[in-house]
Symmetry: none
Subunit: 406 residues, 2 copies
């Protein structure tokens, strides 16, 4: 597996270059409102983004590929220049990184759901009645205090949120080709943990997992609802080449939500503080500015509102970021990129496959419109840019790439 999407001989300067800010509005791309024919971004009053667009190269980002709806992990990996197909992150690994667990090479991680089984061992509730965070944490703690694992294997249980938790196994010779034990619907028994291919490491690990799940049923036998675990998304961790190694960039991430800090730390970005509001995110960026070469700043509300199907809410979330933009442009980075990790059209209510409007502001642009939106970006100078190639553009605009060939 190679994470390298730049041509190998495409080398960054050892001697530095400009600073880059990558501003990501999660799920930025949208679809036209049936009444107005305008997308969320086109409906929003964004005087500062529009002014920025007027001095930027515009284009459309294709996060993973035509027709492919990316999850947040692949979407951000692509933004960071890593091939989202070749360097697919398993859900378990993403969850473990999201809760801040420091994974090591070879660790196997899985997502856990607290679930309810009836007397016949059939799943009656795949989320154990959605326990409160406190209750979920208490149950995980109970299991943690009683769980035994084979010699040489360390099992870490971390509560995430409500009914969700993470399991990490550490030890020599573990494998992650293990089927989900979640039967995906009720009135069925959990699927036994089994290897999905003839791989001794995965077969051994599946046995360990099944033993843990069996113990959990004993330990939680008296719980009225959260009396078992369902496991899914088994994945082994392989460290990624870092931003420093790949690009010579010292990078820092500012993100309210753990998952985005997780992906950022996966590629070696520093995490220095956890903002509790969008304004606080910008303050944190201001505080960091000057100490790094690359700044990733993530705004989540655009995606959240669109998931709610709230067109006006997403419009407002975009306007809120626009209002903060002058403080970011005031930092005068050499390169400022505004984009999203994927589209989340409010009328669609989920992540989608549509291209994402994108701008790159630097001293070396070909402006084509004085408004930032899907329509202006589809006519922009960059055309359709594969997500994983955005970093090459960022580095080029920052004068950090050597010429390719003589």
């Amino acid at each position: 597996m190679s994470h390298i999407s730049l041509p190998q001989s495409l080398a960054f300067h050892g001697d530095g270059g400009g600073t880059i800010i990558m501003l990501v509005m999660d799920g930025l791309g949208g679809l036209p409102h049936p009444d107005s024919g305008l997308t969320e971004l086109e409906s929003a009053a964004t005087p500062h983004l529009d002014a920025l667009a007027a001095r930027s190269s515009l284009g459309m980002l294709a996060p993973v590929g035509h027709g492919i709806t990316p999850g947040s992990g692949p979407g951000h990996l692509a933004l960071f220049g890593y091939d989202p197909i070749e360097s697919m992150i398993g859900r378990g690994v993403l969850s473990a990184l999201g809760v801040g667990f420091e994974l090591r090479q070879g660790d196997v991680a899985a997502r856990l759901n607290l679930a309810t089984l009836d007397h016949d061992g059939l799943v009656t509730d795949r989320r154990a009645g959605r326990p409160s965070d406190e209750d979920g944490r208490r149950v995980i703690e109970t299991v943690r205090n009683s769980l035994r694992t084979p010699e040489g294997v360390e099992a870490t249980l971390i509560h995430e949120k409500e009914h969700r938790a993470v399991l990490v196994l550490r030890g020599d010779g573990l494998g992650a080709d293990i089927a989900d034990t979640d039967p995906q619907r009720t009135d069925l028994p959990p699927v036994p943990a089994t290897a999905t291919r003839a791989d001794p490491a995965s077969e051994r690990t599946a046995g360990i997992v099944q033993d843990i799940l069996d113990q959990v049923r004993d330990i939680l036998a008296d719980e009225p609802r959260a009396n078992s675990f369902l496991a899914r998304g088994f994945a082994a961790f392989t460290p990624y080449p870092t931003f420093e190694t790949r690009y010579g960039l010292r990078a820092v991430a500012v993100a309210k939500y753990p998952m985005y800090r997780g992906v950022a730390s996966l590629v070696g970005m520093a995490i220095d503080g956890v903002p509790d509001s969008n304004e606080n995110s910008v303050e944190m960026l201001e505080r960091h500015f000057g100490s790094y070469d690359f700044y990733f700043i993530h705004f989540k509300d655009t995606d959240s509102r669109a998931h709610d199907g709230d067109f006006e809410g997403k419009v407002a979330a975009i306007e809120e970021v626009d209002a903060l933009l002058p403080r970011i442009t005031a930092l005068s980075p050499d390169v400022l990129i505004v984009t999203g990790d994927h589209s989340t059209p409010a009328i669609y209510g989920e992540h989608s496959w549509h291209h994402v409007p994108t701008l790159i502001a630097s001293s070396w642009t070909r402006p084509s419109a004085d408004v930032f939106g899907e329509s202006s970006c589809r006519g922009g100078d960059l055309g359709v840019v594969p997500g994983k190639e955005l970093m090459s553009l960022a580095l080029a605009h920052a004068a950090r790439l050597d010429k390719y060939g003589a």
Copy 2:
């Protein structure tokens, strides 16, 4: 060899999704008329296609790659989502499928030309004076009645049209890496059938082919013109993963011409009836509608007229399809795609490498123009779409693809 161009982990829903109609006008893309500056599609009066475009995402299809002029086989394979480079069909196989021969795994097929040799064994006419269909059929029948093949090898000769025929060899251990015996010009002897690499199966098969060609010269010794065969396009048949396997789609094809039914059946589409007119094609689509998930409907005249250099004829052929469009939109498929397998500009008179105007109509589009043509499509939301990725878009718009990654 893999035919899969979608990421392996990109799974279609087991639980269904929307219906898809793919309407292909063969050779749809054109070049501007010197007088008007408008292409065939732009010159045609297409009120229904224009109305459809106004609610569609538009784009340009790049069937195989920049500058590459596809044949009909690769062009359609790409439309169906199969990598046209990796899953190249040999001409022999395409011809055999075209005449309706049911190929099996391992069959080796080649195209045959009836040809004229002089007393010195030199080719004097590579097409044997273009015999009539009747005469060509008679000659093939004569050979068929006398031909002997080695134990365990079955040779099938099928007349195609005029001087053209197909040879299929069936048996264990055959190979298809065999050079064409057609010297490509007159006054040369036929090239002996020889393996193009050190492959025992191909070497053995080349020997069988040469023996057949020698027998043919004896059998046809008294024919005044069609006294030999030239063979080319040797290809072994490997079944393709079907639409059902790859996409979970039950698919049906409606096409007047055998070659297009051949490519469609190659990817597992049902063929249920042979239409004898464009209107009859639409009737057949109407009859099938509701029984399948995916409908491929092929119109040929656009390409044929352009091959004749008949600009106005191609315009009229487009208008004829436009007039039938309301009956297709009346079926209310969830996704309707209108495209071509390649460009055949009338002023060029042949297939060409130019992009093909393409529209996708669904509930999830970003319309950008109210006219369907090369100019509007090049400014469309889809940008330039590699041919083989069109199916990913079709599946996405039909809500048939799982999200990629967490």
